[in-house]
């Protein structure tokens, strides 16, 4: 049945879809034609604008949403600081949080490199964040599986 927890979980999954899906779409769908069709100057300006907007959405909506809904879901699952270290559900969740933190650090580094006009470093950081966030999804799937028992 749909209850309040369904809605919390929905918001958590929706946030992940928008963030990871958004990055994937930009990398795979938007960037290749942009690189082909725009001049170098236009391209840099456009990428910076998209990057800035993504950063604002991340800081203002995505992060608060994921953290709030995530904490609520963990609380509902009876997760405590101690159970975070136990093998199984707790440890998968801990690994997921760790990886998510790394992803956020990489995303922040991407913003910094972009601002300093270092395209190589910016690209490396954004791809790190993308691959890492796919790993977060993988661990989230494993988490769902371990509660299904």
């Amino acid at each position: 049945m749909i209850d309040i927890w369904t809605i919390v979980r929905f918001l958590h999954v929706l946030g992940a879809i928008i963030w990871v899906g958004g990055q994937l779409t930009i990398t795979i769908v938007v960037l290749p034609p942009v690189r082909r069709m725009l001049s170098a100057d236009d391209r840099a300006g456009m990428l910076r604008t998209v990057g800035k907007r993504f950063a604002i959405i991340t800081m203002a909506v995505f992060l608060p949403n994921q953290v709030t809904t995530g904490v609520l879901l963990a609380w509902q699952h009876g997760v405590t600081w101690a159970t975070l270290l136990q093998p199984g559900y707790g440890r998968i969740l801990a690994a997921k949080l760790l990886l998510f933190t790394l992803v956020m650090v990489a995303a922040a580094l991407h913003g910094i490199a972009q601002a300093r006009h270092q395209p190589g470093k910016a690209r490396a950081a954004s791809i790190t964040a993308l691959v890492g966030s796919l790993g977060v999804i993988l661990l989230a799937t494993a988490l769902a599986e371990s509660t299904a028992h």
Binding site: R35, Q86, P87, G88, Y89, R91, I92, A94, A95, K96, L98, L99, L102, V103, A106, P119, G120, K121, A122, R123, A124, A125, S126, I127, T128, A129, L130, V131, G132, L134, G135, L138, L139, A142, S146, H149
Partner: protein, 866 residues
Amino acid sequence: MTQFVDLIPPPARGRRSGPRGSVFVWANIVVLGWLALAVALLAVHDVLGLPVWVALHALLLGAVTNAIVIWSEHFVVTLCRVPGPPPRRLALGLTVLNLFITAALIGVAADATVVAGAGGAGVAVIATVHTIALFRMTRTALPGRFGYLVGYYTAASAALVLGALSGAALAIGAAQWYVRLWTAHVHLTLLGWVGLSVLGTLFTLWPTTTGTRITDSTLTAARRALPTLAAGLLAAVAGMLTATVWVTVAGLLCYTAGIVLTIIPLRPATTPHGPAAWMLAAATAWLGISVLLDAVRLLVAGSVEDLPGVVTTVMPVLAVGFAAQVLVGALTKLLPVVLGRGPAEHRAIADILARGWQLRLIAANLAVPLVAVGLPSPLPQLGWALAALSVATFLVLALRVAIPVARRGAFPLEPAQKQAHGTTSGVLAGLIAVALAVAVAGSGQDTTATAPVSAPTHTVEVTLTGMRVHPDTVDVPAGTRLVLRVTNQEAMPHDLRLDTGQHTPRLHHGETALLDVGPVGETRHAWCTVAGHRAAGMTMTIRTPSDHQHTTPDSHSDDNGNNSDTAPTAGLDLAADPTPGWVPRDATLAPTTATLHRIELRATEQDLEVAPGRRERRWTFADTSPGTVPGPTLHGRVGDQFEITLINDTTIGHGMDFHASALAPDGPMRTIGPGERLVYRFTATRAGAWLYHCSTMPMSQHIANGMYGAVIIDPPDLPAVDHEYLMVSSQLYLGAPGSDNQVRKIQAGQPDGWMFNGMAAQYDHAPLTAHPGQRIRIWLVNAGPGDSTAFHVVGAQFDTVYKEGARLLRPSETAGGAQVLDLAPAQGGFVELTFPEPGHYPFVDHDMRHAENGAHGLFTVTEQHR
């Protein structure tokens, strides 16, 4: 004289794409293919249920061996300026080599010993052909300054021939020589074939990579280093084969000295730059470190028994740090030479191959200390993941340039190919982070998973020792949830894998792991996945009663038609004639003379007479050949010293347990492997009739198959008698030692017979003798493994009973007499009697089931002739 070396020979006669035509390009793609297979196997071997060594062999036997064969040939042709073989012959040779490698890999993975043996032998043949070809090439033309290369490659190939042959022997199952052959195999292939090839090539490849000149002193050093390296390897392998620690250590140190001799002339004046230089340098450093580690750890361990454990620490270091890294480094340098035509193409290809090299270098070399065993999970897994990622990234880059060249014959040099930087390092950094997180997430046992509790749980202790799984058969009622508690009791690592795919991790000496079999519905098989161990006999069967209903005594309707062995005395005809030439076991207890008893006991397997006319294979302790059951009797007095040397001449592990001694069993009673020896010392402090037996699990099997004997320690006030006899009672279990059928009977406690001194009804056929009025002392030890004994002499009474160190009856206590000396398993004592008149006096185990099925003999008492 100094010179820059150009690895590219003069333009090939009309051939396209690189120096040696398309065969050479494809040969390098085959190398990359094996490397890709190795990485893929490393990632998924757990899911597919393949042992990790398959991935290791895909790397070493597949990728590295192919690379050595094609590049050694290329270097000799290019540097010695001799004509190379026609491409068609090269292609044929490489195809056959790869077929043999595939056969060897599949053969051992699928447990098809003939295929595995043929593959190994085939690789040896190709290596021989390759060596002869190299040799003949340089004989036709003057080799010049680089002729030393042929020496290195010849020595390396010789090592591969020996390594492949020892590998084939392992695959076929050389149980008795397993440890020695295995360590020799590892060293011959890694230090011989790979090591010598790489070090020899390094003298020219390193200066080329760093852009320095090859000087005459470098080439002199190259000629000097080879004898040191080869002598070191030979000595080390000889030491391993003869199980001599100091020879092995000396050989390894000599080899290390050879590496130092190589490095000294090559040390760069400035910091090397570029991926190839760094990878070659790091790889060579790991080679030196691991050989030194090998030697030092062996020296500390001080025993060849620990060699397998030492090697398993060093081998991953060699595979990841040395072999994989040297291959990637060399290909980074050499692939542009093969794939590109002209400086522009070389540069473009080299640029692609260099992408993200700093991160790849860090990942690979960070992985090396992690994969060396001994670190807690998930660090080793993380190390393997890092190594695999590092190699995989290079593979993607290499295949991206190699495949277009192979297909189109040229490298597509288009400016549009230029891509934004950061892709490779981004993907790598992301994957490393994910691998780390997944490793953390998956570590530890998942406690949230609940086990089904409906079925009864049954835990069985399983030990891995002496290249065997003990017990090798486990019977459980159908539906039982079975858990195996698996302990590795020997220095060589083992694991245990079920046919359903569940398996324990690789267990090192003394480690234990739980293997949850789950509810058992039908017969399951399990085995050790370490290469060759299954062939050598490390297998186990789990059965349910439905598989063997014919063992229950009341089931006469046997539908398996396998009835002959099931009745207790089937096949036992106690009145039959013993086989011609049979000699009864002398029951007389030899008098004791010395105070220091030094004896050599050899664990051997013998065909012995176990019942009249019935010879079967038995496990014995033998002081002289042939061995007997029971083993030699030791006879001494209180205070005597005993020094027993146990030598294991069988194919499985054995040990000893002397009840006559009181000492901490940890060391003296340990199980020793085939070919090993153990010295067991004790001082007899207490009198008694003591049992000694094999201490290896499952003891019931070792005792039931004959590994027992008696130690008689006379009480201080023991008077002399006219005749002193010794009887060791035991049960008889027919069948091949360790066979399913025999093990089942032992576990059910359903012997085929009972016996004194190792043979049913022995003294019916060779009666003991005495005269009326003579005082007879009969010592008795019950060896079991399971039944008690009630010793009785028909028609006679005992006036003396000594049991378990105490006199229960003395002749002076006139009124009393005794009829039976009763002994539980492992108890002992003696009785004394005199026969009143001439006649035939049977002696029996008065449990009549035992007496009627073999525990029966005769005293023939005759008038003394004066």
